[in-house]
């Protein structure tokens, strides 16, 4: 396998692995936890390194996951004391833990392959050089770790799909049925920590956040079904990863950065053009409703005065601006639309309801 292929494969696997738990973070309103966790796992790695003096030791991985969970429980502990609110607790805990890690690295581990830039940016381009050989198997470490994380996440979601769905959308019911909310919460946070640790070595903490939050947020605008949201998130994440890789190759820029950028572009596209919830669809719907409502008003007005003594006067074109407070141009457009729709007939200045228009007005007045 060429190293170009390998880097892309790593990116795809990591993107999919991050997007899966990200869906639940977004739905459970804990997206900022991904930011906190992806920063603090560094502390676990540093401490693990001080204990083992070996960057490849699995203990580092365990330590990092443990600090991720520790972050969550520290935030909860602080929130529960009522001294500060949850958002402030998050904003306090993770900078402190991250600072400790940064200082430990710069003071005591400066000569090791552990630098703070790499933590934020990742070194995806170099990932293929760090290989694991095991019998006939010869894979980049990041690919192996990423695949294990992906399989783990996928397996957990498939196995616990019903439970997770219930605990996400109806906490109360889940609790009465015996699924402990605490267990679900910590289980999810452990999975997020494992994913963050598995990913962050290769892609850096910022990209972990981008991949966990942006694709699910985009998918959230595209569908109302959890299963589809999971699938779409993975698809968007993978697409952004591949596009980001080629963008980075093309312009010779940071791979992790351009992948994060592409997840943003994907969200922006969904934000603007999502079929039902996008800004464009929203605008179109609003304007259509506005015109429909105006036409309804017109037919109601005509129905009110139909056959009365002042009908000639009330049902003339010029009267609308006076009676309905419409600008002449707006009134002209409404009349044109209503005529095209077969709701009214025009006879010079005089407006008359058609059978269809009368029906619409009667229906509207009954509502």
């Amino acid at each position: 396998m060429s190293s170009t292929m390998e880097v892309q494969l790593i990116a795809i696997v990591v993107a999919a692995a991050c997007a899966l738990p990200g869906v639940f973070l977004v739905l459970r309103r804990m997206a900022m936890m991904s930011d906190a966790i992806s920063h603090t796992v560094l502390l676990g790695i540093v401490l693990g390194y001080f204990v083992t003096r070996d960057l490849a030791s699995p203990l580092l991985f365990a330590g990092a996951v443990a600090t991720g969970v520790l972050t969550v429980s520290l935030v909860e502990m602080l929130t529960r004391t009522n001294l500060i609110k949850e958002d402030a607790a998050i904003g306090l805990v993770f900078p402190v833990l991250f600072s400790i890690a940064v200082i430990l690295i710069s003071r005591y581990a400066g000569n090791v392959h552990l630098d703070t830039d790499a933590v934020l940016l990742g070194e995806l381009a170099f990932a293929p050089f760090d290989r694991i050989t095991w019998g006939w198997l010869d894979l980049p470490r990041a690919l192996l770790i990423g695949s294990i994380t992906l399989v783990l996440n996928l397996g957990l979601i498939v196995l616990l799909y019903k439970e997770l769905k219930l605990a996400t959308f109806d906490v109360g019911l889940a609790a009465t049925l015996g699924f402990s909310p605490v267990l679900v919460h910590y289980g999810l946070m452990t999975v997020v920590s494992i994913t963050a640790v598995g990913a962050f070595d290769a892609v850096g903490s910022i990209l972990v956040v981008a991949l966990m939050v942006a694709p699910p947020a985009a998918a959230y605008l595209l569908t109302d079904r959890l299963s589809r949201m999971l699938g779409l998130s993975v698809a968007i994440a993978v697409l952004s990863a591949v596009l980001g890789y080629w963008f980075a190759r093309w312009f010779n820029v940071s791979i992790a950065g351009s992948m994060a950028m592409m997840t943003g572009v994907a969200f922006l596209v969904a934000f603007l053009f999502a079929p039902a919830r996008g800004l464009v669809a929203l605008g179109v719907r609003r304007s259509r409703q506005r015109w429909e409502f105006a036409q309804q008003m017109l037919t109601l007005h005509l129905l009110n005065h139909e056959g009365t003594a002042e009908a000639d006067d009330e049902c003339s074109r010029n009267h609308l601006s006076h009676h309905l407070r419409w600008q002449p141009r707006f009134a002209a457009t409404v009349i044109r639309l209503a005529e095209q729709g077969g709701l009214i007939q025009c006879d010079g200045m005089r407006l008359m309801l058609t059978e269809q228009g009368r029906r619409l007005a009667q229906e509207a007045s009954l509502r």
């Binding site: 900022m32 402030a88 940064v102 990209l207 940071s254 950065g257 934000f271």
Partner: protein, 289 residues
Amino acid sequence: MELFADYTLRMVALGSAMLGIVSGVLGCFAVLRRQALLGDAMSHAALPGIVVAFMLTGQRDPLILMLGAAGSAWLAALLLMSVTRTTRVKEDSSLALILAVFFGTGLVLLSWLQQRPDAAQAGLRSFLFGQAAAMVARDVQVMVALGVPTLLVVALFWKQFKVLTFDPEYAASLGLPVRGLSVLLTSLIIVAIVLGLQTVGVVLMSAMLVAPAAAARQWTDRLGVMIVLAGCFGASAGVVGALISATARGLATGPTIVLCLGALTLVSFLFAPNRGLIWRATRKMQLQV
């Protein structure tokens, strides 16, 4: 006192003190309005602005870089508001999204810049974790020129901000322009963030807003006292942290200041009268006896 005779150290101390006061004061509003994480998102979002400002002008003048940073942080805040207002994506997701995407874009621009032959951009990387030791008189001048008016605006709109913070509905019923005031307050927070970019760096700037306010909150229930305390906490932690980092080898300024702030906050959480944890525990014991 020999410490302050040194020109660099004097600049560092002055600048960090200014930064600490401004971010302490504005952080109080952010924390009380439950927008503590807004600062995190916006400080990360400032990165692309810094790089673009440098790319356009080719200068490292602090004012220009700060303008760029403020511009992109502003854009981020605007996007954030429009995403949360028009879609069902919740605030936490939009915060994380904007943080990561803007920062990623900043990294792309930064790595693109590094291909260019002119060496002047080397210092831009220090904006990630801050480098107080690089501060010169010009930086301090700009910080004071931006910080003092910011504090004045807070003093001017004191009553309005107070109502807005504690009871936005009441503020609206009084006829106050709630949205306008919110935008003004957010803009002031952006100024505070921008001031800290060089000293603390974009990654940890949020702690500069949150920690002094969270610590000050424990000592008092009055906004006025809290703000003064937070200003003092911010300034002292800023000065101490910056001085330690400027004199010791291999200590980035941002993390050092954050650790000083963390210690201060921990002390407040434990020992503050009435609210502090130790105080609470003793009262509980007295009640049991």
